[in-house]
């Protein structure tokens, strides 16, 4: 390899990257016999060393930019996926609250003489739970089925026929994206 061909390889050798060890050995071998190329190689190596030092010493990004950018992030729209254990916890909490509420209030059973259409709506519609957050139209919710005393459902405003009082009945609990129970209905 002559000096002309060596010129490009000298730079790559000095950079110490992106050159095979075989080629590097050839370059060093040539430099050992050619003072002009040896001088060039040494100069390029010094330049590479200065570059490395500049890269090492360069300051990092100011913290205030990070603070500014975090303030510009969009409000998260992603719904939180509620873990199974969270659903079970929420349902259990609803059941406990409902039992307590039922004992203290003990309302009368549903008047089965009420119009059939009202009872049909009652059977399919969710009734918001007391003190629960309101569910927005775009919020994604999950529904989990639970079993609880008929009195508990009645206490929460769900129409339950008198023959279900004293029985365990199936109900659907609506769980919001924050994992809390929002509403309840009698399961079909």
């Amino acid at each position: 390899m002559n000096c002309e061909m060596m010129r490009e390889q000298l730079v790559e050798t000095a950079r110490g990257r992106e050159l095979s060890s075989d080629l590097r050995a050839i370059v060093f071998g040539h430099a050992a016999r050619c003072p002009a190329c040896a001088e060039q190689l040494e100069l390029q190596q010094r330049l590479s060393a200065v570059f490395s030092e500049i890269a090492l010493r360069s300051e990092g990004a100011p913290k205030r930019v990070e603070d500014f950018l975090f303030g510009k992030l969009p409000v998260p729209i992603r719904k939180k996926r509620v873990a199974t254990w969270e659903w079970a916890g929420a349902a259990a909490a609803v059941a406990v609250l409902a039992v307590g509420f039922a004992w203290t209030h003990r309302p009368a059973a549903v008047d089965m003489a009420a119009p059939a259409i009202e009872r049909a709506q009652a059977a399919s519609d969710f009734v918001p739970l007391p003190f629960a957050e309101e569910t927005s139209a775009e919020e994604q919710t999950d529904v989990v089925r639970v079993s609880m005393p008929g009195e508990s459902l009645l206490a929460m405003g769900i129409p339950v026929s008198s023959d279900l009082l004293g029985e365990q009945v199936q109900a659907d609990v609506e769980i919001g994206m924050d994992g809390t129970a929002r509403a309840i209905r009698l399961a079909n």
Binding site: R15, A36, L43, L47, A55, S58, E59, A61, P62
Partner: protein
């Protein structure tokens, strides 16, 4: 976000919340989560790349205020641009440097006059040895800032940011061979410039 559009990490696990973001989370997916406002995803993206973007802008402009502005604009564009990044076309880091490069060009003159080096670069091995370390570093920094834009970009990306030729070619949108030849020419120009700077310094003394 379930099914085929779900975001998954390299092991195939679906990412549904910040608790699932790991160092192995694919960078394109991190970007999606960051654009949806997931702070942890954005933090991971930002903290791994912000210093490099800031330094790139600083070495290109020589001005900390410009570097800060470029950094800010680059990541704002990243959050807001919903269609730009395509993982098939390169790494996210290259994509981010590409945005930063375009921003830098708004602030920095890219067409500086610079005399072409002769075929032979100065053969003065003492060129970078006789000054103090600090003087040498400052002189090289200044010389880099005075390179014409395309050569400055190649030197900053490949030497001061230590990008591979492949990554630099993605950032600059040109073939690897072009990056290599720009870098070699840039280095040669630097040595010419450094020799002139050293001469004037000696003359001043």
């Amino acid at each position: 976000m379930t099914g085929s559009n779900a975001i998954r990490d390299r092991s195939g696990m679906e990412i549904v919340g910040k608790a699932f973001i790991t160092p192995e989370t694919l960078e394109g997916d991190l970007l999606k989560l960051a654009r949806e406002g997931q702070q942890e995803a954005f933090a991971q993206l930002y903290r791994e790349r912000s210093d490099a973007v800031y330094r790139f802008a600083l070495h290109m402009s020589g001005n900390p205020a410009v570097a800060e502005e470029v950094l800010q604009e680059t990541f704002l564009a990243l959050i807001r641009d919903s269609a730009g990044y395509d993982s098939k076309r390169g790494t996210l880091t290259s994509y981010i440097f590409g945005i930063a490069r375009n921003r830098v060009r708004k602030y920095v003159a890219m067409d500086r006059e610079f005399s072409e080096p002769d075929q032979e670069t100065p053969g003065d091995t003492d060129l970078l040895a006789s000054l103090t370390r600090r003087e040498t570093i400052e002189m090289v920094r200044q010389a880099v800032l005075n390179l014409p834009g395309v050569y400055r970009e190649a030197v900053v990306l490949c030497e001061l940011q230590e990008l591979s030729y492949e990554d630099a070619s993605e950032v600059l949108g040109c073939p690897i061979g072009t990056v290599r030849s720009r870098l070699h020419r840039g280095r040669a120009m630097l040595l010419v410039k450094l020799k002139a700077m050293k001469k004037s310094k000696v003359a001043a003394v």
